[in-house]
Homo-oligomer: 203 residues x 2
DNA sequence: CACCTATGAATGAATG
DNA sequence: CATTCATTCATAGGTG
């Protein structure tokens, strides 16, 4: 019979790691609950549980994309001038479009919102370009420039956390190197929540 | 010299626990980054753009964003059912929350207004389940599905994970069903296991 | 594969 | 309150 042999030290290390993970998880889960609580009922989230045939797809797309037909239809309505369709209208549109693919009222609603905002902004930008010129030294970021490559990197304070990358492997050595490893004081050393609170102020 | 002896089975259990934790953490961290991204810059100080000194202006916030703590608090109150807090109540809440970051009564007020309106809208949307379309030849999905957000209350069995840990087991399903977390590949996340290698565990 | 843009979605604030 | 607006976030898709 095979057995694995570990020294006290090794076992201790392992134990700590688990403990640390445990704590982190607890806190993260806590945060997750809090932070997503509103998103659940706020978002027009649809849980695409489709694709039961073409593969082990568990997670479907996260964002609706209008099919060409739907888009055409929407554009058509939009061009009819009648601004915001309003709930009743949206229902109609939605059921119409649902014949051409997955869609929800929220999608339609958002589409119109965005469509309008976009076209409006476009005009604003056009007229602003002349006046605003290039003295971007001050404002640097204006409506006309909201396309700048700032992308999804708006987590400036990540460094304050132990986690830099989604690669948990990387995170691990943070854990191991942490002074915490000396003892099992996990409880207080990894309060990500508090940190989150803090780095907000770091600005 | 003392050594601890573990059977393969025991080791395996440990390994799995770590792996599971690792995965959870990975995903939670991911979520954390995502979900707090906004909160951080908001952290409280919006409009730090007024710093006209020669400092490089960090993209300032013009609008308040609740910190996680604040949000939690707000949600809590909101869940207590009492609709829109009275002026007095709002003052209280505001002063409470101001301990967790910049906030004003108006913010609180707006938050409740929006919170209410949006949760209501969601319900309205949810109830729109009856239309003529029942068989979508294209997607084979009933339209009713794309509305229900699949709330966070389901309890799929996690037993197959061999994960007999503390209470976080309960939280597990949060992660597993989250659309955000595309994968939960425990099998490939044995980061800690690598370390185990060093210990001569995986001989 | 990295970067970029277009755009769906989320949400604080404003308006009616 | 109900709706709408404005701004921002995150991601799908295209391109070099």
């Amino acid at each position: 019979m095979y057995v694995k042999v570990m020294t006290d030290e090794q076992l201790e290390t392992l134990r700590k790691q688990i403990a640390v993970y445990s704590t982190i998880c607890e806190q993260l889960v806590e945060m997750h609950k809090t932070l997503t609580a509103q998103q659940d009922l706020a978002g027009g989230m649809y849980c695409d549980s489709m694709i039961t045939s073409s593969g082990p797809r568990i997670t479907a797309r996260q964002r609706w994309t209008p099919t060409p037909s739907q888009l055409q239809f929407l554009e058509q309505i939009f061009d009819q001038g009648n601004g915001t369709p309003s709930k009743q209208k949206i229902k109609e549109i939605t059921s119409q479009l649902s014949q051409h693919g997955q869609i929800s009222e929220t999608n339609v609603y958002n589409w119109f919102q965005n469509r309008r905002a976009r076209s409006k902004r476009k005009q604003v930008v056009e007229s602003e370009v002349e006046t605003e010129v290039d003295s971007l030294n001050e404002k640097k970021i204006t409506k006309s420039e909201n396309f700048l490559p700032q992308q999804h990197n708006q987590a400036p304070s990540d460094d304050h956390l132990c986690f830099h990358s989604p690669d948990i492997t990387t995170d691990m050595h943070y854990l191991r190197e942490d002074p915490l490893s000396g003892k099992l004081g996990v409880d207080e050393s990894y309060n990500l929540y508090d940190q989150a609170d803090d780095y907000g102020m770091a600005g």
